[in-house]
Amino acid sequence: MTDLTVKLPGLNLKNPIMPASGCFGFGKEYAQLYDLSQLGAIMIKATTVETRLGNPTPRVAETASGMLNAIGLQNPGLEKVSGQELPWLEQYDVPIIANVAGTTTEDYVEVAKAISQAPNVHALEINISCPNVKLGGITFGTDPDVARELTRAVKEVSSVPVYIKLSPNVTDIVSIAKAVEAGGADGITMINTLLGMRMDTKTGRPIIANITGGLSGPAIKPVALRMVYEVSKHTKLPIIGMGGITNVDDVIDFLSAGASAVAVGTANFVNPFVCPEIIGQLPERLHELGFDSVEQLVGRSHRL
């Protein structure tokens, strides 16, 4: 019997597969399609103190084996997420990882304090890596000192373990990872999207209204894998890896690189059943490769 369970700070996962934040809303759309209790966890859409309308359209553009998005953290705000979305998710036997975003440290602290008290929120994912908002987001994720201090501030108020979501748009991701480790983070989630552009060839105008957007999808998997590998080599923090995962072998690769669990993002848009499909295929694939638990696989590339 293959053991798919994964134990991480705050999280006892039935399996290592979860939908990534921003690609799954608050679960309602996918709940029409399958039972959300099958999932290892759910990373819900970024929540800010206030209601946010997000960016003008076009917000997405397809690219080679990927897509750009600049949604701009559209969300109903802390009050509605705590009062409506999270209670609705309580009907499912699945831990929630709440993605927290903001413009100032005070914003992050306010959301983290309140949302970490929801009974089904088992961990926080601090979004210091959103490339699509003018203030906050990525500005917290590109300077090690700022990242460390924000981690510290959030850790002080959070009732659950804190994972920091890292941006790939930095020169040295290991220095950011080490900084959040020093700030007391319980884990890391990585990577957020890579900043990119697409032009309208005829007019020369950028297609995305925000001009730039975050690149995701299979195109970014090699970058994500490399970063997970480096960060897992240089920190002790557990990693939830993501970036271009579309199938069971991608999951194996991320675990091998050093991730303890993985999140599936853009692939949900292409195949809305991708998470349960991967979960279903994982035992057999592990068996074929000669493993009988997910944990045996974690970081095996470092041991070879």
Binding site: G22, C23, F24, G25, K28, E29, Y30, Q32, L33, T51, L53, G54, T57, P58, R59, V60, A61, E62, T63, A64, S65, G66, M67, N69, I71, Q74, P76, G217, P218, T246, T266, N268, F269, V270, N271, P272, F273
Partner: protein
């Protein structure tokens, strides 16, 4: 209920310049009820191109478990779709979104379409006719070469065609025809370019109307927040074209 299914291509043909008619068969077709809903299609089994393509449904044949789409092959995705042959299998997600409410029409309805917005009006016309509603069709195209389904619409009711270059029917836009027609209908339904929807909406502020909108989509089911529009219903929220629409009552969408 939304299903994902590998459906079989039954027929594909070019019925006007760059305009293709594609019929698929599978259980998913049995889930279709409202005209104006759409399906989300993977045009390749690889991840290149990555995203699904939203295509509206032109007619439903529940007895044969088939439905037909009409689309314009203009980009990479629809170009690949146009290469599909009978017997090929296609990954289809649907039916998606909210379509045209047929029960809102009382006696006579105007169906106003532009270009690739015309196809969903065909199933709508069939269903309204089945409810003994008289339908008048006002359809706009670029040129004579781009016109399709004219005869099929004529079988269902009065049909007026406009072409931008005047090569067929009235020269100009659908609004030029509307100006000449009596306003003796109770409900209008429209699908086409946003500018056309706006013009139609302004032409009939007193009438009950339903408009089908287009936006760049990601997931097609309401999760990615790509296809949003501002709305008169709320200052603090958007509506999503894919899951709240694509059909909205007139006056709801701020375009």
């Amino acid at each position: 209920m939304i299903k994902q299914e590998r459906m079989q291509v039954i027929k594909q043909q070019e019925i006007a310049k760059h305009i293709f008619e594609l019929t698929l068969q599978g259980e998913l077709a049995n889930e279709m009820a409202e005209p104006g809903q759409f399906v989300h299609i993977r045009v390749a089994d690889s991840f290149e191109p990555l995203l699904r393509r939203p295509i509206s449904v032109a007619s439903i044949d529940l007895e044969a478990s088939q439905f037909t789409m009409i689309y314009r092959a203009e980009g990479r995705g629809t170009g690949l779709l146009a290469e599909k042959k009978p017997g090929d299998m296609l990954d289809v997600l649907g039916p998606l979104g909210h379509g045209f409410p047929v029960e809102e029409a009382q006696k006579k309805a105007y169906l106003i379409g532009g270009g690739i917005g015309v196809p969903p009006l065909y199933e709508l016309a069939k269903q309204l006719n089945a409810r003994s509603i008289e339908t008048v069709h006002i359809l706009g195209f670029e040129s004579k070469q781009a016109v399709f389904y004219e005869d099929k619409f004529r079988e269902l009711g009065d049909t007026h065609i406009a072409t931008v270059d005047g090569s067929h029917g009235t020269q100009g836009f659908v609004t030029h025809i509307l100006n000449e027609l009596p306003s003796d209908f109770d409900t209008y339904y429209s699908c086409g370019p946003t500018a056309m929807l706006e013009a139609v909406q302004w032409a009939y502020p007193q009438k009950k109307g339903f408009l089908s909108y287009e936006q760049r989509m990601g997931c097609g089911i309401g999760a990615c927040f790509a296809c949003v529009c501002r709305t008169t219903k709320s200052e603090t929220d958007y509506i999503k074209v894919c899951s709240d629409g694509p059909v909205f009552p007139a006056g709801v969408v701020i375009s």
